[in-house]
């Protein structure tokens, strides 16, 4: 079954603190589009090392949304990029689109 993003970790972290939860989601809403844009630019410019760096950052967000399979794919993709391979680019793009869609609903 395909995994879907969830707020389990964020809820656990926030406890009853709704203000924090809101603030935390706002941070993600601010940070994610910037990181995705950076990712897209580095891919476009074929800067593999820089792409690996930004994938590293993005994979933490996958973890935050409970996307364990996506996280594991991102780990592999980051390693691939460091070796000059981009075979997982399409899969990663799909993951990012899913996460962005989810974040837009928050």
């Amino acid at each position: 079954m395909k995994e879907t993003p969830n707020l389990k970790y964020i809820k656990e972290l926030s406890g009853d603190d709704e203000a924090f939860e809101k603030q935390f989601i706002n941070i993600i809403k601010t940070e994610l589009p910037v990181e995705v844009e950076t990712y897209e630019n580095t891919v476009k410019e074929n800067k593999l090392f820089e792409t690996a760096e930004i994938v590293h950052k993005l994979k933490h967000k996958l973890n935050i949304f409970g996307l364990e399979d996506a996280y594991r794919l991102a780990v592999r993709y980051e390693e691939d990029l460091k070796r000059g391979e981009t075979i997982l680019e399409g899969d990663f793009k799909g993951i990012l689109e899913g996460v962005q869609k989810f974040v837009n609903t928050l």
């Binding site: 970790y9 656990e12 972290l13 926030s14 603190d17 924090f20 603030q23 935390f24 941070i27 993600i28 601010t30 940070e31 760096e53 590293h56 950052k57 994979k59 933490h60 967000k61 973890n63 935050i64 780990v75």
Partner: protein, 236 residues
């Protein structure tokens, strides 16, 4: 117990700050999105703990720890599990938290920090070696011994079996090695920043990315020598 958080991701800093709220005697006194600002802060103020991201642009958490003369307790935070072995090679690093950090794991980490603080103070990475005795160096050029004052030497560059000693006025090529001349130079003035270069630390004009400008010479800084250089800087 006070702490700072160093992480280039705002989201990651928010996680650690929130988890710290649950620890009654832990105060987050500041947060930094880059290593340089944190180093500047630590030059002014001491803290008990640093929550430090390993993976930051241009400066790893390990570089950071090596840069600090008297590092406090450091808890590394990372998305990778692969650095754990390296982490424990540093005396200052007491724990290694894999993101996303859970409240339970964070509390355990704080207990480790407290345990470490109760045991012994952290020992600095390296002991300072003694400084210079004399103020000059004699170099042998065509059977003539030429006296050079330390403060007129800009840098020394390795060139195979020879070294170039560059002063403000002249360059001298001497049959020697960097290793040999390094032993003759005072450590409080000279620093090896690359396998081929020793520089006079007091002659630095500026530092940009991975190079140093001395006179008109742009000298590369190697990754392994960068932490020591950064540690020596009197950063504002």
């Amino acid at each position: 117990m006070n702490c700072i958080i160093v992480d280039d991701e705002a989201m990651a800093r928010a996680v650690v700050a929130k988890l710290s709220e649950n620890i009654p005697d832990l105060d987050v006194i500041d947060q930094f999105s880059n290593a340089m600002d944190a180093i500047k802060f630590l030059n002014q103020q001491t803290v008990d703990v640093i929550f430090l991201d390993i993976h930051m642009p241009g400066f790893s958490g390990f570089d950071f720890v090596q840069t600090l003369k008297d590092p406090p307790r450091v808890v590394l935070t990372t998305s990778d599990k692969d650095f754990a072995i390296e982490a424990y090679e540093y005396e200052a690093i007491v724990d290694y938290l894999v993101k996303p950090i859970t409240p339970e794991r964070f509390e355990k980490s704080i207990l480790k920090v407290k345990g470490s603080m109760a045991k012994q103070p952290v020992i600095a990475n390296k002991e300072e070696k003694s400084s210079s005795v004399g103020q000059e160096l004699y170099i042998n050029i065509d059977r003539r011994l030429i006296k050079l004052q330390f403060d007129e030497i800009l840098l020394i560059e390795a060139k195979g079996d020879y070294i170039d000693v560059k002063t403000e006025k002249e360059n001298y090529t001497v049959h020697s090695t960097l290793k040999k001349i390094k032993q003759k130079l005072p450590e409080d003035i000279f620093l090896q920043i690359h396998r081929s270069f020793i520089i006079n630390f007091t002659k630095i004009i500026d530092i940009e990315d991975n190079s140093v400008l001395i006179g008109k010479n742009v000298i590369p800084i190697s990754r392994s020598n960068r932490p020591e250089l950064m540690r020596r800087l009197n950063l504002l």
